[in-house]
Subunit: 313 residues, 3 copies
């Protein structure tokens, strides 16, 4: 395990990273994967470090994935959610963060509905800051765990054809994935209803199609996005049934896919909306491997940032 | 401390256990009781193990009892409640559980309002699963801590007369206790208003009576159940005052009890509804010993299941 | 580090403490400050001790400060909030506490809206009890961290002129500070609108003034209190703008202050209500140092109480 070449104290977005930095995180994550398979799933790497998880949006998998990563590295974790915080007393986010900072945490993991919040905190605070999702902006550890999963199945990212299907416009997962996959030389196709496609999507350096069949054809990887039913009032299609009939991934449709295709989903899934249950649980699905890789990627990021902070001190 | 003879990865209910298995848990718990009395209340038994507490119903004592048990065994604990989870985004319980599973926890402790959920998870997941209460079905660690408390006072379970009083029909505590006490050779009497007694209660292998005096007479142990005021709309009696006059345990009524009787209650108590305050705090009450034994029993169960998982690996 | 001279198992209020006890806490805190500046921010002092944080009011800084203090001392922390507890099932506070007690925690940290709750628990429970704020009564660790901060800047408390400005009547911070500062020989001035000043405030052994200018003049320390906007309906002035114009601390007003004055605030701040942003972030502000000292003071208190409990055992 080497921290050679890593100098950042923050991971705010994939957009900032060089291909070498991305590769270093993925290599480090690969070496951490094995820790979660041991009988004693714990290394003393971050003993005596304090990591604060500041989640201003509900989350099961991302928060728990970070918390497990922190505990397997022997860090001390603290959890905050918006409900229990002083923000309910009208304090500004930056004052809350400065106050936590004064308690000398080493790293802050933050999820916030407002794009740019992790960036602002990273600039203002001496602690390392990890973006765990900021609005529709970035979700860098998700793109990294996706890349780690693809690498394990395909051995490379360069030259791969990767199709991302669904509500492209509102997805921070897509944004981080496009940055990462473009930097690493993959060929990205975006697919979805026109009403869910950002204006001038082609300018992102990707191919854009408007049918699922075009997205499936020739793809090495198909990444299905979650339909955000919780904001269904602003949904851009008449019903979930109609969405499923047009963009739901079924076994029938997969017959036209390339041999060896893998199916990904960032979760939580809506079975029967963007993906059929038998596809989600089927032989091409690597969805649960993504989750397992999430812990390894987060361990790698925590480890690299803590190393950079130490050197700077 | 021996794990000899224990092979289960799950504790879903008392119904599944043999008398030998019940005895093994109780013996193991007895040996763990001492840990909580040390100045350093911690053993390294589960170091590097990840235990997830998944509570889909509010709980103070059971969740905290498990969490304390986990920490005294040096496990890493993670807490989830329904409010903060992806279930609020419409994900199915099994997907939430599979996702947590992918992060490689060793043990899951689950409370859920739906009977059978722990059983379903135990079948689907390689992790060990502990039922911390599922609807009106089972609450096995409660019955085990009750048994440990009785043993400490009476030295045996066999042949003891144990009366359980209150809302029999909706109680998972009763169900687990009947299984355990029947298997261990105790004689169980159920008492309560007819409207709170399950149809054909006698078929459970118990005696059924409908007055508190009959329940008290000759009993070695009286176990009072909580009246669930939070679902008072469906209560089967006119008022809590009326309930207290008919089934509330008072000092006056206890005069007719057998010498050396002990009074139990699984908590949380409604003082002045099912039990008078002076009885709850009086010389026959072992209610707080039950709570203390809860930590020891949960340590024992966590230890035995983790051992079985290790051997299977 | 010495526990010599400390015999209390509880810290319920500053009112109970002798000047020697206050000095011992401050000296101990000073020696713990350094732990949070190490690369490995952890000492094994409270390993195997269980600390329960029982917060019945929302709190970011106090709860997290205690939790960080506990983790840096290697204690096992458990968190309870009112929402998730059995109190929602109608259990009395004392029963909840007795139940937690039965699980053999070493220390309980409690915040409650009702004055006197920590005192009642301290009397009833063998565990050590720390008051983390009880209604408008006391908040002893806040006064201690304030004193530590003043000491670091002024080298002494005796003879210092300290002005406290704002909603005096409803502030537990003020009450604990008056006790501490009087005992240590400082001269306290209270300032605020007449509608926020307790009747017969002078009987507290302090000077009382009704303008900010009088409070500023000659003060070595100015402590601004939070305007509790969340209970604005009962506010004793027409608007926050009006409050700011009369009692808001601005750079302009500070021109009349004594050379070397320091500005304090217990947080969370309302910028532009009781304090101007440029003053809060300005050269005289020691507000974030207060937060940092909070962790050290809480480590000291946890350490001293645990030592007294050990000796008593």
């Amino acid at each position: 395990m080497t921290q050679e070449g890593w100098t950042r104290k923050d991971l705010v977005g994939i957009a900032d990273l060089s291909p070498q930095e991305i590769q270093l995180i993925l290599d480090t994550a690969e070496s951490f994967r094995e820790v979660s398979e041991r009988p004693i799933k714990k290394v003393p790497t971050l003993r005596g470090k304090t990591v604060v998880n500041l989640f201003f949006e509900a989350s099961t998998r991302t928060r728990s994935s970070f918390e497990i990563a922190e505990k397997r590295l022997s860090a001390d974790s603290l959890n905050f959610s918006s409900a229990s915080s002083s923000l309910s007393k009208g304090e500004s986010l930056i004052d809350t963060a400065l106050n936590l900072q004064a308690m000398a945490p080493d790293l802050l993991v933050i999820r916030h509905s407002h794009p740019g919040v992790p960036h602002m905190l990273a600039e203002r605070l001496p602690s390392g800051v990890i973006n765990a999702g900021d609005g529709a902006h970035e979700h860098p550890t998700q793109a990294l765990l996706d890349a780690l999963t693809i690498l394990q199945h395909k051995g490379r990212l360069e030259g791969l054809k990767i199709s991302i299907v669904g509500d492209i416009e509102h997805s921070r997962v897509v944004r981080s994935n496009i940055h990462l996959l473009n930097k690493m030389g993959a060929e990205v196709t975006l697919a979805g209803p026109r009403t869910m496609m950002p204006v001038e999507a082609e300018k992102l350096g990707v191919r854009v199609v408007y049918t699922l069949d075009e997205a499936i054809k020739g793809a090495d990887v198909i990444m299905m996005l979650r339909v955000q039913l919780e904001r269904q009032s602003r949904l851009a299609f008449p019903s979930t049934r109609e969405y499923f009939s047009l963009f739901g991934l079924t076994r029938e449709r997969l017959k036209r896919a390339k041999r060896g295709v893998i199916i990904m989903h960032p979760g939580p899934m809506n079975r029967g909306v963007e993906i059929a249950s038998d596809v989600a649980d089927g032989p091409y699905s690597v969805i649960l491997e993504q989750v397992a890789n999430g812990v390894a990627v987060r361990m790698a990021v925590l480890y690299l940032l803590a190393g950079a902070l130490q050197e700077a001190a």
